[in-house]
Symmetry: C2
Subunit: 225 residues, 2 copies
């Protein structure tokens, strides 16, 4: 089963490959706007699958002159990056919307990836997968593409609009709104601290406002990177 | 000696901390536009120093309510990220200038960081430092800041202008132009492959044009991430 979807299942909190039973699962993911690939522009993606032989065969079958594949045995890490990046994109939007600046956005994206990498480790994946195409690469697209639903939702939140008001004007799904609390719950079950995911969850639920959230993130004990 | 500069010395190809002799060296680096810090906006940076006690003391001395420091023992990795990101910023500009799209830019930035991480390992640093504030974080600022000299130089190259024509209109230094060949030479001496740095070097020297460079990058043998 070649999975091309992203996210966590609500309720079970499972990632797509964790939902596949009794069949070998593979995952295709990365920074891929479909309209660019359809136009023949160059792109790269990850083909994640435990079995190295089947993985190499799938990579050869799916590659084209303009679509370059990288292999990875880490299907959990690849699935986690694609789900979690939407939460970081919301946070990045909040920072810009609230006028906190480019330094804060760059720091928040970097530290956001670090906490996702910690969860990847806790779930049996590899932290370095999160620095790859399925994590960082996909996040770059989400945070630079002006049409990102998650980034623009964060932007509106940062400008002071309420979540209800923002969602009432949308007919599309903004994945990160459901992903943030699910990801936080999964992290808590795994014993992993995710301060940025927690901040986004608290902002979305109304439990904290932006100054409280920013102060909580900046006031944490100093530590190594 | 607390180092706040970035780059490789031409000729010797040494990083700033490698140039400090007979004194303990520390490095302060990260995604920090000075004007934002001066305005009191929140920011984070890395304080890299081998000695843990001195590092912790410096971190406490330099932190403020809006300036958050993370420690790292990896001074070589921190110095390398700050130098190499200018080369990736040029490459990202070329991709956008040549109309190759957002997918290609995201892939190139991600794979660019991967090759810098390989060199960090070869030089005795930690690859994960490159995914942190001094590498990825600083690169995000360079590639999103519209005023980046390196990104805008790549953009003009991608649009077909010659390097001489671009530089003749500039009164400021575009660091990546000198860093690319120096970084490539340092990588070759360390036995590390850096295909994106090599591509930028070849573009800047006129040894390859953009279609040749893109084809060379896309046509490489498939491999694991």
């Amino acid at each position: 089963v070649l999975l091309c979807c992203k996210g966590l299942e609500r309720g079970s909190l499972l990632l797509p490959p964790e939902l596949v039973q009794n069949r070998p699962a593979a995952m295709l993911t990365g920074p891929n706007f479909a309209h660019e690939i359809a136009a023949g522009l160059p792109a790269a993606a990850v083909l994640a699958m435990a079995d190295a032989t089947a993985r190499a065969a799938l990579m050869e079958a799916l590659r084209t002159e303009t679509f370059r594949l990288y292999g990875s045995p880490d299907i959990v890490g690849a699935a986690l990056g694609g789900a979690a990046k939407n939460v970081i994109a919301i946070a990045a939007g909040v920072v810009i919307g609230a006028g906190l600046g480019e330094n804060a956005r760059a720091a928040l994206i970097t530290r956001g990836l670090a906490e996702i990498a910690r969860l990847a480790s806790a779930l049996g994946g590899r932290p370095e997968t999160i620095s790859g195409l399925s994590g960082l690469g996909d996040l770059l697209l989400t945070c630079t593409g002006t049409s990102s639903r998650n980034f623009s939702l964060g932007l509106a939140l940062g400008q002071g609009q309420s979540l209800d008001a923002i969602l009432s004007h949308r007919t599309t799904v903004t994945e990160g709104v459901a992903t943030a609390p699910a990801l936080l719950a999964r992290a808590q079950a795994a014993g992993t601290e995710m301060p940025i995911t927690e901040a986004v969850t608290n902002l979305l639920s109304g439990a904290q406002n932006i100054p409280q959230t920013a102060a909580a993130l900046m006031g944490r004990a100093l530590k190594d990177e």
